[in-house]
């Protein structure tokens, strides 16, 4: 039963990794590819870690698995933004008006 859970989760993780790679190959532009990579791969890693979490011998290794995934998420959240930024067109967002933003479109003050 436990093994079945592991098999299902790791298989699902592999599918998302495959989706990430396929997106990296198929998507037409740099930013779309970055979408595929960031979301699919970290989900894939999370599912693999979840699948293995029921196999570890003790709670210490379970928490270590969580820590590994949390670090991967932190790194992904930061690098995705940084790489997306250097690949972004220059001058994007330079005009003061927000295009779609704000529920009311009004200037918001920082608290």
């Amino acid at each position: 039963m436990i093994d079945l859970f592991t098999i299902v989760m790791t298989a699902a993780g592999l599918i998302f990794f495959a989706a990430g790679t396929l997106g990296l190959i198929r998507f037409p532009d740099t930013h779309s590819r970055l979408h595929a990579l960031t979301k699919a791969d970290n989900l894939g890693l999370g599912l693999i870690a979840l699948g293995l979490a029921v196999q570890v011998p003790g709670p210490a290794d379970l928490f270590k698995l969580i820590l590994i995934w949390a670090l991967a998420i932190l790194a992904a959240g930061a690098t995705a933004q940084l790489v997306a930024r250097i690949a972004a067109p220059a001058g994007l967002g330079d005009d003061e008006k927000a295009q779609d933003g704000g529920s009311d479109g009004q200037e918001r003050r920082r608290p």
């Binding site: 592991t6 990794f17 990579l37 970290n42 290794d61 698995l65 590994i68 250097i86």
Partner: protein, 105 residues
């Protein structure tokens, strides 16, 4: 179970091989760099599976180090694309720059 772990790990290696194609192809430096990020994430996955397969959970430390340092190369890369390798990718206007002597030691 260990056969299954290796099977999934082999699948992950194939997705890594796909990422290698994107490193080779580019065209942007950002494309190459993020494909390397994919290899890093996939590598963490493979190591987790190898740990489960061998039952030697000390291998998790290798995955931990890889996950911890995953962002290092990407940060060095984004820094090298702005200014003379010392700037911030979000730093577009001179007045955004930190003033005077910068950070405390």
């Amino acid at each position: 179970m260990s056969s299954w772990y290796l099977l999934v790990a082999t699948g992950l290696l194939l997705t890594i091989a796909g990422a290698l194609w994107r490193v080779w192809r580019g065209p942007e430096q950002a494309d190459r760099m993020m494909a390397a990020q994919l290899v890093g994430t996939g590598g963490v996955g493979v190591i987790l599976l190898l740990a489960a397969m061998s039952g030697d959970w000390a291998m998790l430390d290798v995955a931990l180090v890889l996950a911890l340092l995953a962002a290092l190369a990407a940060i060095a890369f984004v820094k090298s694309t702005r200014g003379e390798g010392e700037g911030d990718p979000e730093d577009d206007t001179p007045e955004d720059r930190a003033s005077e002597d910068g950070a405390p030691r």
